[in-house]
Assembly symmetry: C2
């Protein structure tokens, strides 16, 4: 797994011309930079709005294209909650997501030491998991 540093103002120009086999274009760099800039979970539209600040000509379709490219090359994670619009997550380490019902905000949640979910499921021998998503909803204790 590649490790892209989270930083306040990532400079799109600092990304190499290729990441994880994905050719980095100006727009893909910008979209990636937007996502790495904050540790939150923006929607495609949020990303679009933020990207427009530095690249006013970028289109929403391109943002969708870039997101799909980045996700499929594991540079960004896609997060789905029920039927809400997809969100995107810069944290590539093993974790799942908790949505606070009060604020709607999404938080990363990690597993206790070394737990591998796959080991806890009754799956037919040899089953290959290519994708796994855990979504929690609830309220923080007060």
């Amino acid at each position: 797994m590649i490790s892209l540093e989270q930083q306040k103002n990532p400079n799109p120009e600092d990304f190499p011309s290729e990441l994880e086999g994905l050719r980095m274009t100006k727009q893909r760099r910008e979209v990636l930079a937007v996502i790495l800039a904050e540790r939150d979970h923006p929607t495609a539209n949020d990303v679009f709005t933020r990207a427009q600040e530095r690249m006013p000509t970028i289109s929403l379709a391109t943002v969708y294209n870039c997101l799909e490219a980045l996700v499929s090359h594991s540079l960004v994670r896609q997060v789905n909650f029920e039927r809400e619009s997809s969100r995107y997550c810069p944290n590539l380490s093993d974790h799942c997501h908790f949505q606070d019902e009060k604020s709607g905000k999404i938080h990363d949640v990690v597993f206790k030491g070394g737990v591998k979910l796959e080991d806890l499921l009754e799956l037919p021998q040899g089953t290959k998991i290519s994708h796994l998503e855990i979504s929690l909803k609830g309220r923080f204790g007060k």
Copy 2:
């Protein structure tokens, strides 16, 4: 948790007039019967089509209404996979879902003896989980 028997041809008329505090109307009975009739994971539209066989006048909007009522009263589970349309599941016991990438079909997966996912997560003290969904995607071993 209520336990509604899975059976080949559930008779909508056999359901009591109220289930889990939800008043059972003709349409809600029919929708519930459709879902209990098969151990699969139909979309709202699938349910609509199947319900129409015995109740040709039912509308899609009603199917959506009924599904939402049944789900919110825990008579049926809603299953979401990425951005695909929601599916509905008659199995109320603790389990998660695996989608076979080859067929697209969804299968129920149970946890190994008594594992409680909540116990494996690093959540702030007192966090109340109201909803939890685990979705897996992959291929069965051959």
